[in-house]
């Protein structure tokens, strides 16, 4: 039931992400048309890290999906986007990290039992905000990702790019 609901929406998120960056050049990926705006490289890296690290490891206590170690601190929740293009992988590499994280979670989600979904997230600091694994996964994989894709949508408009 949980996977039946969450997977189609999660897949839509990946599709939307692909469409939002499809026409961007490598240099555009780090454009900051207004100070402190989250740019595409940071947003894609950030949501990729949630599917690759936060959901499997911090929520479920599983191994993380392979993710470049040097990128983790550049895209985590306490990082801020930098204009230096060399700090981020190429657009294709970023999108592969996102796709790989999605693919792994798409395999894991159908295997989760009701008991697992109603249990506590693996790391303690999530417990107050997310009393259950199901709540944490719904927020992290759906709402959180869509919120950042909404930022990306507005970021496109600032640069005169069309709506997707």
């Amino acid at each position: 039931m949980f996977a039946n609901y969450i997977l189609p929406i999660y897949e839509r998120g990946l599709d939307l992400a692909n469409r939002l960056v499809a026409d961007l050049s490598e240099e555009q990926m780090v454009a900051q048309p207004a100070p402190n705006m989250n740019h595409a490289a940071w947003i894609i890296g950030h949501v990729a890290s949630v599917s690759a690290i936060v959901a499997p490891e911090f929520v479920l206590g599983l191994e993380r999906t392979p993710f470049p170690a040097e990128l983790v601190n550049r895209v985590n929740h306490s990082s801020s986007p930098q204009p230096d293009r060399s700090l981020y992988p190429s657009k294709a590499e970023l999108m592969k990290l996102l796709a790989d994280g999605h693919a792994r979670m798409a395999q894991i989600l159908p295997t989760l039992s009701e008991a697992q979904l109603s249990g506590l997230p693996s790391i303690e600091r999530f417990h107050k905000r997310f009393p259950t694994v199901g709540m944490a996964l719904t927020h992290m994989l759906i709402s959180h990702e869509e919120m950042h894709l909404g930022q990306l949508s507005a970021w496109r408009r600032v640069q005169g790019l069309p709506a997707v």
Binding site: P33, M37, G134, I142, R157
Partner: protein, 161 residues
């Protein structure tokens, strides 16, 4: 499942309350750097979407007169602030809508949630009421709140969280 969706839905309201902090009333309809969806439109759109969600759940709640034209699907935000209620008023409507929808969704049984989506256009993307309402609560709101987050940055306002 419903509790997970309602948890995200509740967070959306909290996040919206943070996103509108510090917005001067006279700035709420500005469209900086080409961002069309300004704060008044986003909050009004999310407030008025409660009408659509309640329709999907079989208990339609009417939006205030004129809000469909201002905030409904296909509406185009303008920078004419005389057309929009204050953001604080729009957020109060969003809060009331959240309270209504939370009750309706929590009470919705499997029969209703597995029934065909009441809106024909929506049904093509979301076959069941549960799919459609889940999308509206957990996906539609965050996308627009993300737009509002980017609008804040373009307006020179700080991060909301």
């Amino acid at each position: 499942m419903k509790s997970a969706i309602l948890s995200s839905y509740a967070f959306n309201l909290h996040y919206a309350s943070k996103l509108i902090e510090g917005i001067a009333p006279e700035k709420a309809c500005e469209q900086p750097a080409g961002i069309p969806n300004h704060a008044a439109w986003v909050i009004g759109h999310l407030a008025s979407s409660s009408g659509f969600i309640s329709f999907l759940l079989g208990k339609p709640i009417e939006s205030p007169a004129g809000w469909d034209e201002l905030f409904g699907i296909g509406s185009k935000p303008t920078s004419d602030k005389s057309k929009y209620p204050p953001v604080a008023e729009l957020f109060e409507a969003m809060k009331l809508g959240h309270a209504d929808i939370t009750k309706l969704y929590a009470a919705a049984g499997d029969d209703l949630l597995s029934s065909p989506t009441a809106h024909e256009g929506f049904r093509k993307m979301f076959p069941t009421t549960g799919d459609a309402v889940g999308f509206m609560l957990a996906t539609h709101e965050p996308i627009h709140l993300g737009q509002l987050s980017a609008w804040r940055r373009a307006m020179g306002l700080g991060s909301a969280l």
